[in-house]
Symmetry: C2
Subunit: 174 residues, 2 copies
Amino acid sequence: MTETPKAASPIEEGSPPFIRLFGRYLRDQGLPVTSQREAVAKVVFTSEEHLSVDDIEHALRLSGERIGKATIYRTLDLLVRSRLVEEHDFGEGFKRYEHRLSNQPVHEHLICVECATVTEFESDELYRIENRVRGEHGFMPVRHRLEIYGLCRSCQEAGVQLTTEGLICPIEII
Amino acid sequence: MTETPKAASPIEEGSPPFIRLFGRYLRDQGLPVTSQREAVAKVVFTSEEHLSVDDIEHALRLSGERIGKATIYRTLDLLVRSRLVEEHDFGEGFKRYEHRLSNQPVHEHLICVECATVTEFESDELYRIENRVRGEHGFMPVRHRLEIYGLCRSCQEAGVQLTTEGLICPIEII
DNA sequence: CTCAGTGCAAACCGTTTGCAGAACG
DNA sequence: CGTTCTGCAAACGGTTTGCACTGAG
């Protein structure tokens, strides 16, 4: 903080590697590298959470940046296109974003329906599923989405019960 | 059509079994059984597609029914609660609905990113995944969502290519 | 200097809600 | 007959877009 030479210059030597990657992408595409884009990228790459746009806006505000929502959306679009960031929809009515530079290159999500905590896990079985699908259906998988909803350990230990109001085994009782 | 005794009466003897099931659910819940609810249920149970609300509205219009969108949404909510119908979000910006009275009780979806065709497939591997997750993470699965996006056979045969614009293997090139 | 980016506010669009009148039970 | 439903239209909320201004290259 004391030796940083002021530098309003965006995405240059001082930047962390993942942000430089985004700069590379932008240059590759012939797009300007702006301080706003850097700021949004920094928030996303710095966090290990699944961030909503509001989360990102809030984080930016905390660090003194004042960036419009539209710019955040537009930058996220670029980040997703660059494949540095992944977009998720956990059925909350809005999207979440997660950078792809973690130690878990490919992973799926466990989502607690009680406390909304998201846990990540890996699954080789999915490769088997994709191979099977390729063979049996002639379908070429490109990407997938596997989310398992249920109760996380701590909610179970807290004694949370799930209520079922629907018809049970409807087929049988016709 | 000729012998039907006019009957504006909703969800009674003449109705197909799955619609009677919905009537049973409504009565169990102490809710009125209305002709609108019957009409919406009939459209959903009659189709083997993944219907959007617009699809349903359109089908109702074709059969002469004039039912407001709000009522369709409200009825779908009841159908989902009753567990007779499943709600899907294939990332199109709106929901789709599919009844659960088919021959494939539990199935996953293959979604063609080119032509948007949805194919269903079953996967025992998923049970294995859920069991593993139960053991390794203490997570109790309740429901899941597995969607594989890619190219269906006919789009591949039609020579469709997917364009990749993002950075390839970003981690390596820092 | 030029072209794209930014910020604001308005538009969008699927979905939800409030309310007066109609229907179920 | 009271309670719930229906239909309309307005509200909602996340996301997108149009446009004048700013800034990157």
